[in-house]
């Protein structure tokens, strides 16, 4: 006993140091597993509010550019809407149109903190439980995909960016139905990688890649980017580099997609697995 006390007294700083380092390691490992990092993240009350306050200046300076972008998006949606109305008018034989069904709804938000320099990037958005945002919801903007919500607090939520080495998103080619998974190797912030595309798929540079809709998170057809090159190698390990439509270093307004059928799909998948 005497010896033990002596040992602790002699190495008390080292033991304290080890204890703190152990806590830090624990936090690091937790941070790398999806929605396990309940404690250390920028979506909590204090950090979220801090970023919110400091961002108000930046918002003000960027108003002009944002407006132009939103107007452009509005025009695209308006044109699309006109087309759909026209199509609807040509349909005459349908007696009954169900207008009550809506699969998805969009919630608009702003990015409070953007990050793209790390290997495991996270964004913070100003939507939380109050805006009925929950974990594992798709986050997109007018140009393409941004990420998946991971940890949600009352007013803010943390988004796992597609520029995160842990992120894996189902994606496919626009002109065929071959799908693979979208990952990031951590090098360039505007290039992501598409893996596991079957070898019979014909891929050319310039092909558009969209989300596949195989997962219950992203709807089908959200634009991702264009193929820039296909790395040579065995066809099973074929890596396709994709240039994102989004400039990930310059994001402001985002939409979170709320899927009303998600629970049903999840329950069905769970049932299948058993």
């Amino acid at each position: 006993m005497q010896q033990l006390i002596y040992f602790i007294r002699k190495y008390r700083y080292f033991l304290f140091f080890l204890l703190l380092e152990f806590i830090a390691i624990n936090l690091i490992i937790n941070n790398h597993s999806f929605h396990k990092s309940k404690f250390v993240n920028s979506a909590n009350y204090i950090t979220g509010d801090f970023y919110n306050k400091t961002n108000s200046i930046k918002n003000y300076l960027n108003l002009n550019k944002e407006n132009v972008e939103l107007l452009n998006e509005n025009i695209i949606i308006k044109n699309e809407n006109e087309k759909l109305i026209e199509i609807l008018n040509t349909v005459t034989k349908v007696k009954f149109i169900d207008t009550s069904k809506q699969r998805r709804s969009y919630i608009n938000g702003k990015i409070e903190k953007n990050q793209y320099s790390s290997n495991f990037n996270f964004l913070t958005i100003n939507l939380g439980l109050n805006d009925s945002v929950f974990s594992e919801m798709a986050v997109i903007n007018s140009k393409g995909i941004v990420g998946i919500t991971e940890f949600v607090s009352i007013k803010y939520s943390r988004v796992q960016s597609i520029l995160n080495k842990n992120s894996k998103i189902n994606a496919k080619l626009k002109n065929s139905n071959h799908f693979g998974s979208l990952t990031w190797n951590g090098f360039s912030y505007n290039t992501v990688q598409l893996l596991d595309i079957p070898r019979q798929a014909i891929i050319k540079t310039g092909d558009t890649v969209i989300t596949g809709g195989m997962s219950s998170i992203f709807p089908e057809g959200v634009p991702v980017g264009t193929v820039i090159n296909i790395e040579k190698g065995s066809s099973i390990k074929r890596i396709i580099n994709i240039k994102l439509f989004n400039d990930m270093s310059n994001l402001r307004n985002v939409y979170v997609i709320k899927d009303f059928d998600k629970k049903e799909i999840r329950d069905l998948e769970k049932f299948n697995n058993e």
């Binding site: 703190l20 690091i28 993240n41 920028s42 990050q115 913070t124």
Partner: protein, 167 residues
């Protein structure tokens, strides 16, 4: 060494790191981590518990703001722990000299060695933990080198300009 002054500078460095330096992203990945100055300005004391604890909290605050889990806390704490060893090595100081120890009154060569070593160790640990795998080691080393240069330039410029004030 004024306690209030150290507190003020720590907060200022924290804000500088979070609001400005974390967003520099020079050639997408290179950031200076100037908050390591906290280690250099914190006074030497016989009792090291307070110092270790404060460094841990300081690193953790940065982790909160940059969504990095605990990598800042880990690397900063590591440097804080080994600081004493390097002070003994470079400045040949014993237990008695702690109270009067001041970086500004030491020779520039020794100070440079001391700060260079601690910065390199800190940045290397930080960037390897950020990488979180044994691949891309050459990128980690290069990043360490560039970021350290960046930090050192900023630190020495700052400490030269604020020589009288920072002490």
């Amino acid at each position: 060494m004024n306690k209030l002054r150290i507190f003020f500078w720590s907060i200022l460095l924290l804000l500088l790191q979070i609001l400005v330096l974390n967003n520099i992203n020079f050639s997408h990945t290179i950031n200076p981590y100037l908050y390591i100055t906290f280690i250099f300005i914190f006074p030497l004391k016989k009792n090291r518990f307070i110092f270790l604890f404060f460094t841990f909290v300081y690193g953790l605050i940065l982790d909160f703001f940059s969504d990095t889990g605990g990598i800042h806390a880990f690397s900063l704490l590591f440097v804080a722990y080994i600081r004493l060893f390097f002070i003994k090595l470079f400045f040949k100081k014993g237990n008695i000299d702690y109270l009067l120890f001041n970086l500004n009154s030491e020779a520039f060569g020794q100070v440079f060695n001391y700060i260079l070593t601690l910065t390199l160790i800190h940045h290397f640990i930080l960037i390897s933990l950020d990488n979180f795998s044994f691949h891309n080691m050459e990128i980690v080393l290069l990043n360490t080198l560039y970021s350290s240069t960046f930090t050192l330039v900023l630190y020495f410029l700052g400490s030269y300009i604020l020589r009288k004030k920072i002490t």
